[in-house]
């Protein structure tokens, strides 16, 4: 177990072994996303209440799920880099932050596009919308600190601390926003509950979720490998690779 951990923590080992994953992930995300888009946008039935705009959900729901879990993954990587000082974990934090921020933005944008025909407005101060917006600001904070502090190792540690504190605060933020919404306003809008979605709808949705995850790991891996080479440019293994 520890040996495995140490091996994969070494940039050289990681770089050489992870290369094989790229075509697998690329193929998987391409096929699954393509299939999900085809199934969701062309074949799946329109909702009897929401009409054709329900199809936005096939992008929105996966993005929203991925937004939250990518923050969790970033914070776990940050914790690992703080405790064990693994270089690769720090690089992982740095490379996942922009992807996570974009996904969160995508969830917000598709949500408001869906909200216009459904709720008649692009934005309501609903509990879920508000906590997603705050999640975006948390990502932005990690990115901003990282950019401000430059490339040094201490910069990475400061950003990692911020990411971990953010993860610990997420439940507090979420609950306080829930209380603010539920006790303060009468329930004006709720995400329409569809009791027992038919398979023709949750099938493509599940496919899109899996496809989003595959694409996310692909993008993360490519960025991470690029970042590792950049950081280790003076080391022997990168020099050797350049010569070949």
């Amino acid at each position: 177990m520890w040996r495995w951990f140490h091996q994969w923590g070494s940039p050289k080992f990681f770089y050489h072994r992870s290369g094989a994953l790229i075509p697998v992930l690329a193929l998987a995300s391409g096929l699954i996303l393509g299939g999900g888009v085809f199934w969701g946008l062309l074949i799946a039935p329109a909702d009897y209440q929401q009409g054709e705009s329900v199809r936005i959900m096939y992008v929105h729901v996966p993005a929203a799920i991925l937004a939250q879990s990518s923050y969790a993954m970033m914070a776990v990587m940050a914790l690992i880099s703080l405790i064990w000082r693994l270089k690769i974990a720090d690089a992982a934090v740095q490379t996942v932050a922009p992807i996570g921020a974009c996904i969160t933005l995508l969830a917000l944008a598709t949500g408001s596009l869906w909200g216009k025909p459904m709720w008649g407005t692009f934005w309501v101060w609903d509990a879920r919308l508000t906590s997603t917006l705050i999640l975006f600001f948390l990502f932005a904070g990690v990115l901003a600190l990282r950019n401000a502090a430059g490339q040094s190792q201490t910069a990475g540690r400061a950003a990692s601390v911020l990411a971990v504190i953010g993860l610990l605060n997420l439940p507090i933020i979420k609950y306080s926003v829930d209380w603010w919404f539920t006790l303060h306003q009468p329930a004006s809008f709720t995400l329409t509950e569809r009791p027992a979605m038919p398979f023709s709808m949750w099938g493509p949705l599940l496919m899109m979720v899996v496809g989003f995850y595959a694409w996310f790991f692909l993008a993360w891996l490519i960025r991470l490998r690029h970042e590792l080479v950049k950081r280790e440019v003076r080391s022997d293994w990168v020099q050797q690779m350049m010569k070949q």
């Binding site: 703080l82 600001f137 400061a158 911020l162 504190i165 605060n169 926003v177 603010w180 006790l183």
Partner: protein, 214 residues
Amino acid sequence: MMLLRRELKIMLRSPAGAIQSLMFAVLVIALFPLAITPDPSQLEPLGVGLIWVVTLLACLLAADKSLLSDYADGSLEQMVLSDYPLWWVCLVKSIAHWVSCGLPLLLMAPLLAAMLAMPSERVVWLMASLILGSPILSLFCTLGAMLTVGLNQSSALLPILIAPFLVPTLILGTQWATTGGEAFYGYMLAALLCLSLVTLPFAMAVVAKIAVSR
């Protein structure tokens, strides 16, 4: 205690920082009637929220004042190297921030409330919510100052980092005051204060070590 006395002395001998925070708050509150309406019946429901937001902004603005000079003249490094426990140093920094910023704003709140035509029973709950809430603001602001000190960045970085963390405090504080002291919000705000008080000094200690190693 020596540390605390030092901070308070520095503050008393140059009260400009505290006065500037107060001026900022009064000025911004004065802008709202000008921009929205001077009608008391329309200003009154906005009062609690406006005063809370102004307090929050004033705290963020004043966050890195004392830490910047300590960082520049090397006393921050000496504090980290000294045999005081580092969490205590960080807690003292937060207390100093609260005394120079949170406390004056708290005392000023009745005046700000009068400017916004707030009824006096609401003012009592506003003060109560600020008493519990402003120490949390100070703790987080000091954390932000520790994170950004020595980065030579624009002053907008700190609010971007810290404002999302202040959302729960803002929500619970304003809700407590506007609902006229509904116990649930008060308990939650108190719980948040206790939680911040026992966890944030240790988080700040980690960050302070990073800050002096830059």
